[in-house]
């Protein structure tokens, strides 16, 4: 190459390779231009669709007109997005009227066709739409998606199923939540909150007990911990017994901590008191946290002793718990750091007191 002329086959190959790359650059330039034109057209179509359907959607929340304009095929995706947005920001009768509107426009068959497409964005939009439409015909398909489909698809299918048939959907969602660590608990909680909390309590209790039975052997029980953390979605009384059973039977750290965090009744404080001496600092910290919620003046000495724990986190939680104990003399508490012989404990209590005064 170094000494060759362009007739050198290697040099000629390199030159042709460069020319091919330049041609690719030109092709990419053209593709970028085409993509931009398509983007601008898509934006214009969105604007048109929004201008056309937004007023109608607003009208339909009050009253569905006898005659609706036809839903053009090319507008279907945009309409469904606008419709789903409206559905998710409304409640009650307005949602029902929007469903009536969508059915009149044939949104159900459109969404079912979309569900069969390969592109994930169409499938997701279809799942959300079908859930809001309460399309019972897709229930079987949704149940198939929940256990094994990719995270976002399975989660959206679960949401649709719960909307269509909560009695069927909630137990399946809870069972899947215990198994699927890729499901964000916040998203599960959001879909459970669409159901009545009094219905969730017994189902969640049953799921917790089923998970305890399933993990009676030595398998790690992360599923149990996940279910226990969902206690916020149910009435506390309804899951209390199951939480206590889980707390008493838990061997692993995760469910033990989750159960401690789920304690809410002052009568259960004894369990937290016992666990304040647990060998693992995470459990002791959770126990101190629980005593901060459930404890009384009798716990003062116990928590004061925990201020001397070797773990920073236990000391911190104990100090916070001390600051939130009821019926304690605020002045005496403020003076306590000065009386403590353990400098770490005193520092921590000062920290917690300053935090409390800032809150």
């Amino acid at each position: 190459l170094a000494f060759g002329a362009i007739s050198d086959p290697f040099l000629a190959g390199a030159a042709w390779f460069s020319v091919a790359m330049l041609a690719s650059v030109a092709a990419l330039l053209a593709t970028i231009a085409v993509l931009r034109i398509r983007l601008l057209k898509r934006i214009a179509r969105w604007r048109e669709a929004t201008a056309r359907w937004s007023p109608l959607l607003a009208e339909c929340t009050e009253r569905v007109p006898a005659v609706l304009p036809p839903l053009a095929r090319r507008e279907a995706e945009m309409f469904l997005v606008l419709w789903c947005k409206a559905q998710e920001s409304l409640r009650g009768e307005a949602q029902q009227r929007l469903r009536q509107m969508a059915r009149t426009l044939g949104a159900g068959p459109i969404a079912r066709r979309m569900l069969a497409l390969r592109r994930r964005r169409f499938r997701l939009l279809a799942l959300v739409t079908l859930g809001h439409l309460r399309e019972a015909s897709v229930v079987e398909h949704l149940m198939d998606l929940i256990p094994d489909a990719p995270t976002v698809v399975s989660m959206t299918a679960a949401q649709a199923l719960v909307r269509i048939d909560p009695a069927l959907g909630v137990p399946r969602v809870l069972a899947a939540t215990a198994r699927r660590r890729d499901w964000a608990l916040g998203e599960v909680a959001a879909l459970l909150r669409e159901c009545e909390p009094e219905h969730i309590g017994p189902l969640l209790s049953a799921a917790i007990r089923a998970e305890m039975r399933a993990h009676a052997d030595d398998k790690p029980a992360f599923g149990l911990a996940r279910l226990l953390r969902l206690h916020l979605c149910a009435h506390a009384d309804a899951v209390r017994a199951a939480v206590l059973e889980a707390l008493d039977g838990a061997r692993d750290l995760e469910p033990l901590i989750a159960a401690l965090d789920a304690l809410f009744h002052p009568q259960d404080a004894d369990r937290a008191r016992r666990l304040l001496a647990h060998g693992e600092w995470e459990v002791r910290a959770a126990a101190a946290r629980a005593l901060g919620r459930l404890g009384g003046p009798d716990d003062f000495e116990r928590l004061r002793a925990a201020l001397g724990d070797r773990s920073w986190w236990v000391r911190y939680r104990a100090a916070q718990a001390l600051c939130s104990l009821p019926q304690l003399d605020a002045q005496a508490l403020s003076a306590l750091p000065g009386r403590l012989t353990d400098a770490f404990a005193a520092d921590m209590l000062r920290h917690a007191l300053a935090e409390r005064s800032a809150a």
Binding site: L1, A2, F3, G4, A5, I6, D8, L11, A14, A15, F17, S18, V19, M21, L22, S24, V25, L28, L29, T31, I32, L35, R36, L39, V81, C84, K85, E88, S89, R119, R120, R121, L124, L125, V128, V152, T156, R181, D182, W183, A184, L185, G186, E187, A189, A190, F222, R229, L232, W312, R315, Y316, F344, D347, M348, R350, H351, A354, A358, A359
Partner: protein, 472 residues
């Protein structure tokens, strides 16, 4: 081996290196395209309303600040407005010699706070901790200067109370939903220990109340050229390596970490210039060698905007430091390279970084010098000279244009009149001088690392026009 033979073989080596380098990047681009398509498809659900839940883990936002008097208050104010349910902001004043602490004290009504400071990771002594009377979730840690961002970050980690911490540069501009988005990988996978996102150039953008309101291209040439560089760096390699769980770096401008994982790893190292890359490679190494499951996630969304240098001098210093940091990180963790338990980071990412990032300035610069000098000395023919030049330039153009195509297919952020045409022009012309110049700067960084020259933090001259418009 005659002189001529050696010259010929050297030229073939340079030719082969350029071809393999560019083909490797094109392959990364192809993989990134597939990843991005999957990711963007799932974003259709983002169009729907979404509520926060108590299940999102609380986050400590750590803002290391050294002589940031002019920008710190507005930055902190915007951070306090991030959409996130539970958040504490910890500003670490790293012994600033300007009025950073006074400015914070005035703006946020700071009072001393009796922090039970826990020195979990190494940092210089703390002089005091303050909390804001206006914002209960804002604390300021005042410490002795540690001559590195890592030391200040470590002090922030020591004061952090939450399971996740996010390091944010004082001059970074965030999106209101930045934190929510970067937390998502942690919600879906308990093994995630770090997550980062795409950083973009803020120069030229319209900024209001500390947030980017409209994305615009910079008007000056140097930041404009960096826009293209950032496109290549973030969309290509990080997205592709993320699919293999081999992300090489979580940007120091905005990155989220598991507090526990970083504390167990010993915090950030103060003796390297690339502390962000070093930490991420160390996390890979520790987890891989211990056989612990983990994942380091990357989001293609632009979640952080940073001010790019507008002068050659500052850019020169920045690129030299970056390359030196890269060299340090790769050298420190060379044990992971092709280690039996190294996985994708050890067998793919690190070898790639060594061959195509670490050594590239050396080989690129040597190639240019060889061709030019050879041509002037008559060793290389005119045909050889022009073919090599055409090859190098066209390969660079192809890479830049592929990055632009990926951007246009996915996020298409630059929608202003004529902005796409400007970017296309930049993608073509940055290969005629600018890339060669940055290769030289990187070579200088490589040299400084090899000779062990004294590491120094450069000063970043900020223009921050949005700070001068009277915006808080």
């Amino acid at each position: 081996l005659s002189w001529h033979d050696a010259a010929q073989q050297a030229q073939w080596f340079f030719f082969a290196y350029f071809v393999v380098l560019n083909l490797a990047y094109v392959a990364l681009n192809a993989l990134a395209t597939l990843e991005l398509r999957k990711y963007l498809d799932e974003r259709v659900l983002d169009l729907l309303p979404r509520a926060h839940s108590p299940y999102e883990p609380p986050v400590s936002l750590i803002v290391p600040a050294y002589n940031e008097e002019t920008v710190i208050c507005s930055s902190v104010l915007s951070m306090l407005q991030l959409e996130y349910p539970e958040l504490e902001v910890i500003v670490v004043n790293d012994g600033s010699t300007d009025g950073t602490l006074d400015a914070l004290s005035r703006e946020f009504d700071l009072v001393p706070f009796p922090e039970a400071y826990w020195r979990r990771v190494q940092s210089k002594p703390v002089r005091g901790v303050y909390r804001s009377k206006r914002f209960p979730n804002l604390r300021v840690v005042d410490k002795e200067n540690g001559r590195s961002k890592a030391d200040a970050t470590n002090a922030g980690i020591n004061a952090a109370h939450f399971p996740l911490f996010c390091v944010v540069d004082a001059d970074s501009l965030l999106d209101r939903s930045s934190l929510r988005r970067v937390v998502e990988p942690f919600l879906h996978d308990p093994s995630v220990i770090a997550a980062g996102g795409t950083v973009r150039i803020a120069n030229g953008c319209e900024v209001r109340n500390g947030f980017v309101e409209a994305v615009r291209l910079p008007t000056r040439m140097l930041p404009l050229l960096q826009v293209m560089e950032y496109l290549r760096a973030f969309l290509f390699s990080r997205l592709c390596f993320a699919a293999l769980n081999a992300v090489p770096i979580v940007s120091g401008a905005f990155g989220l970490f598991s507090t526990r994982a970083v504390v167990e790893a010993g915090g950030l190292r103060s003796d390297t210039l690339g502390e962000d890359m070093e930490l991420v490679v160390r996390l890979h190494r520790l987890h891989r060698l211990a056989g612990r499951p983990y994942r380091i996630a990357f989001l293609p969304d632009p979640i952080c905007w940073t001010e790019a240098p507008e002068s050659l001098g500052v850019l020169h210093g920045q690129r030299t430091r970056w390359h030196r940091g890269l060299c340090e990180s790769l050298a420190i963790h060379r044990a992971l390279v092709c280690h039996p338990r190294g996985g994708a980071p050890g067998w793919l990412m690190l070898p790639f970084m060594i061959v195509f990032e670490w050594l590239s300035p050396l080989i690129e610069a040597a190639g240019y010098v060889f061709i030019v000098v050879g041509f002037l000395c008559g060793v290389v023919t005119a045909a050889g000279f022009w073919t090599f030049t055409l090859l190098a330039v066209s390969a660079g153009m192809l890479l830049s244009m592929s990055a632009l195509l990926l951007e246009e297919r996915s996020l298409h952020l630059y929608r202003g009149r004529g902005e796409l045409a400007t970017l296309c022009a930049v993608a073509l012309f940055e290969n005629l001088g600018y890339r060669q110049l940055t290769a030289l700067w990187r070579l200088q960084g490589l040299w400084q690392w090899a000779t062990g020259a004294q590491a120094r933090w450069g000063t970043m001259t900020r223009t921050s026009t949005w700070q001068k418009d009277g915006q808080p």
